[in-house]
Symmetry: T
């Protein structure tokens, strides 16, 4: 079994700036923890980050028939990308959308998500732990599914 973790634009900067706010964890740290969590459950966890909408879509398409679930933090693409939404819908596996910050407490253009309606669910605002909770939810569903 296989779960794909996707990080959208600018998430590669995690841990490099404002550690008091975003924590000192880098994306590599988070990905490592997710891989470890997956290993315990006998599930392979692969991660991919890109600042390119197209590269994220390519990666999602490559996961068709391989991944059993997707965790995605679409970053700034959350609010506008119909293409990302269509790609996720085409994979036909459960998707969990994650946001590190509480997008509902920020600028109004961040309050809507193009992704949410094709996701199984959304976790937002709980910081880096949100990724782990998302993976746990997926694993639980795959286990019971």
């Amino acid at each position: 079994m296989n779960v794909l973790i996707l990080h959208g634009p600018n998430l590669n900067l995690l841990g490099q700036r404002e550690p008091d706010i975003y924590g000192r964890d880098t994306l590599a740290d988070i990905d490592a923890r997710l891989r470890a969590l997956g290993e315990k459950a006998g599930v392979q966890v692969e991660s991919f980050q890109s600042n390119h909408e197209g590269a994220l879509i390519d990666r999602i398409q490559a996961a068709r028939g391989i991944a059993s679930g997707i965790v995605i933090n679409p970053g700034g693409l959350t609010h506008t990308s119909v293409s990302l939404r269509d790609a996720l819908a085409a994979v036909e596996v459960p998707v969990v959308e994650v946001h590190l910050s509480n997008i509902h407490a920020r600028e109004s253009f961040r309050h809507t998500s193009m992704i949410a309606a094709v996701a199984w669910g959304t976790i937002c605002g709980l910081g880096a732990i949100g990724y782990e909770l998302a993976l746990r939810a997926l694993l639980e569903r795959l286990r019971s599914g």
Copy 2:
């Protein structure tokens, strides 16, 4: 330490209808699992359900100075209740908002939340497991806080 679990209007019907969709778990089952999860972490977990906005606000106010965190599924009050929002903001402890269904994939009036902006974060659409993830997030934060 003490965490308060709040269930808004109509959530008392959980498990009694459409078990194929919402699962066979009753609210009592969920609350029991949350209490057990709390016990393991040495945290007392109390639950409260009401169909009355006022009763929920009374309960939230009673938790001021006592609860260290709140998990709330505001049900239909999510989209309109300024009073519930103000009550939660007044407690000054981290709040996690939970929705069993993916409110972003339902009618448009369910896409906005009065609560989200005063919550630490939101978990929606993952079913009953969302409560457990919310509690885990709170426990993690209380532990590390």
Copy 3:
């Protein structure tokens, strides 16, 4: 067979003020006529009024599995209460929404109803006779259903 009549906030004042506009009938008069109409059809008609959204929801939930239909005038809750809508939808019996006044000829915030989309139908603006027509429609449907 059993039909539940629900009157929302402020409808208890009926007949006590502006009799030239709203008529001299009190809510008790209306309820009596509805009971009589039910009796003729061999159907028990129960009425309930409350100014509390929560109490109305409690009453609706209590009618699950008992009432075969509901007539409701949600009063001021018509335009905002998602919780009332969800409660009515959960009962899974036909609901007829009634308004004494023509809400479309009043302030614009009264032109939308949260309830209408989960009701079987709506009768508005015909005065107290609207309740009787609503009950007749329900009885007809129960008879032919």
Copy 4:
């Protein structure tokens, strides 16, 4: 005494398609029942259907000074026709607007009515019985008026 029943565009198709949904009654059946109901009350009931907005307005104008009330299902003209509204307002008799289906549970452009604000009241979503209830309300009002 005289009541005019008006059926707007496409209502002549009633009973000819999707009988499981709309019932097997044709418009002729409904009109016959309304005429019979009128006869019992000593009131002449005339019906008119047209797919032409102008023909409906002509018919409404012809009823000035003759009809004591109007029951109208404006069909698709409900949502846009200012001219129909103006014609109905000019007759200065009580008008009851009827819709067979629950327009509030359909596409959003069907949620508004140009007619409702000049009608005495509206009955929508109860199927063919809605016409009879509308006529009963009118007869009651004419009797007591």
Copy 5:
């Protein structure tokens, strides 16, 4: 087999004005070409133009059970006519909506169509050839259907 071609208000003026823009083809020319195209495919093509919404609806209703497909340029009725939409939906055959000009490059009130959602598809902005493409698409579908 039978296909109905419908031209809405003002399309009878085609070819009579601004030939540099709209071409020198009259509606008769276009209809002749469509008839010829139909003949080759063994399909009878009938055309009808009216400035009256009601006459268009009457013609559509008359085609129920006879026409296997409809090509319609609703002209100015495109943007407002719920009745035309309902009539087309009631025929239950594939409908192709055609616009000679690119309505998306004109005034904003021309950017929305009441018809599009009940059509099989839309061709707009390609001039008179749009009618032929629409008929070809219909013929292809009828052939393969």
Copy 6:
């Protein structure tokens, strides 16, 4: 020279109701005064009223190449009829839009006009004299044009 006067839906009722508000002049009186005004200027003035949008469009099209100007009170069609607008634009003569009442002081749906942008100008709210002023403006323009 020739000027066409067009009266939209319900204007045939002028003078028959609420004479205190709309004056005792019938449409025939107004048309007679306009004819007389035209005669003095050596211009033939023809009038046409219809409750049918299609009939008004037919009449406008018939005036192409004949009328040198049009005065139109589109009645309730003012606010919605794209087809009427397109017909008027196709005549390519100056059009003056007239409204007896001040549409800006009435319901908000009367504040916009589909016709105004293709008219030379608009006169509204001055009562029956508005028609005469409109005709005077046209005559002046034709004279100086």
Copy 7:
């Protein structure tokens, strides 16, 4: 009897620029014609132009109890000035609003008028003759009033 003619901001430039569009008449020419028209009717016509909203309001207030009617072209203040509206409403004499150009065929922010709802009527888009028509309407009303 006395009529006040008011010209808002930038109307003093009339005739000085783009004479092909706005004509060669200066504001002085127009005012002279209006004075002459008034003289014939035995009515004193005074004109006032200002680029200052406050000066226009001062002038309107000074006309209370003196002027029997007002013709005003509010220029750019048309679309925003609540104060001008309130001043005109306070005079309690008939007001005719005039616009030289067809504001409905220009930018969308020019489509609404703060003044129209408190005016007796509006004349727009007919060029300089609009002022004369407005004065004629007022004189007619004062004569018959």
Copy 8:
């Protein structure tokens, strides 16, 4: 004479939190000052706080025929409660709406009030003194009324 003071949801927390912002006065302190102010004027002042919309409505209804005026701070119900509005309108005595904070300088959903249009007037943003000013205004009106 009798004046009713109503405090909506969460106002019972006054003085208990953020005293630097809201002051150290509790609701009891404020109510005592209002009672004292009333006593001087020979008017009985009663206060009531609830977090329940329904309880506030019950209390308002109980004041019909008894209270000569109402001062209400509706808290979070200000922005959504049609029922509270209807209850206040039904009492038919002057109502003054009070807000401690300047709701126009806070989140946009706090900028509108369902209550304001049925109140005699509103005082907002002046802190606890706002209650006293509201009572003074009422007393002045009752005295001069």
Copy 9:
């Protein structure tokens, strides 16, 4: 100590028209009462009225460093004047906004205020007494400040 009272456009007409509605008090009467109220508190109260936005801004700027508070009824400028808002914000003393009528019960364009967000608070709808309450609030704050 010094308080500035500002009256916007058209307020100079107070008392001269509709005394049954606005009372018989002129602006001079009100200003006299405010001066007297100030004298008792040892505070100089100066008043200024203008129909000119610019003159009001000039007066506000002149009060910088001199006035300790401002009471302003911005009249029709309330709803649109960014410049007035900026001037008031630049003075950096508490501002109380006053409206004689209840702007929330009038036309919708009067429901918003450009001034409110930079004011300490707002008093609206209580008639002339609103000015006195505003001054009392200011005096109280200056005393306790």
Copy 10:
């Protein structure tokens, strides 16, 4: 002569999923048919698909001065990409926009197109045949142009 066929994000999945809905044709099949159609007309047809907005823009720019027309299905970029619109406008050759599904019958965010206003025309909702119709229209225009 040369025509460029462009396929936006996710169109590479065509034929691989939901063949009952989208047909069994792959993008390669469609491109082959278009090439064949071009060959008959002596026109070279080249196709390009990418999930990257930037790659599509690069390809469009490369076609400047080479392609005589473009057929584009922008996929999810349709609704948001200003850059794609600007690139197409810069090529200054006729563009036909194609959509396989009827975007007007899907989610509301799919109802608007950034591309349509710079295209010659649009074909949507007719399935794979839409591409061929678009190419035919272009060939016809190039031939007659």
Copy 11:
């Protein structure tokens, strides 16, 4: 050659308050630097500040035929003044709009400009240097023009 510098309401306060934010430069300092910059280029630079919309319009009109370009910071009039826009458009010389602060990072009502669409261009958010850049751009254009 001649360039006019215009400063709208409240800009006369520059340098007098919040020097840490707006800098210690007064408007006189800025104007002096602009004059010096003009002198070097052989261009006369005149400056004018007013809090009166009307005075600014008067000044702009006086510059017709004299000034070769205008730099304007319209202050709070930016967002609402149609009259200022019309005056600037009437001068028919290039206009550069300047804002000291970044209006797009402030309240939403500051995000739109009535002036921008008739200006040659806009410089905003760069502080006092914005004026110099605007003048440089004008001088460059006048030189090359």
Copy 12:
């Protein structure tokens, strides 16, 4: 010291088309002038153009800690790209947004910028000189900073 110049989609076409409008300068010419301007100030100026949002973000991230300022013309990404905005905000150096054309005088979707609120300031509509002014502003700030 180092300044980064970024050009978004389609700006590589500069100078190649419509030289009468956009000038004959290519992007290379502009970049050369900016480099020269930088050299004089002892600041290294690097330029980068891409049609790929992702490539622009990559380039911005690469400039973190290196560049002291950024000049960006985001082209069509201006109006929609949240990711570009987030990348620019993450660099934490002053950013000047440049547009060659006056985006406020074009289609309405070009009137809003996702970038403006995180920029220090914006220069738009002055043509190629806008880049130089932007760089001058940055150099000035870096010098004085």
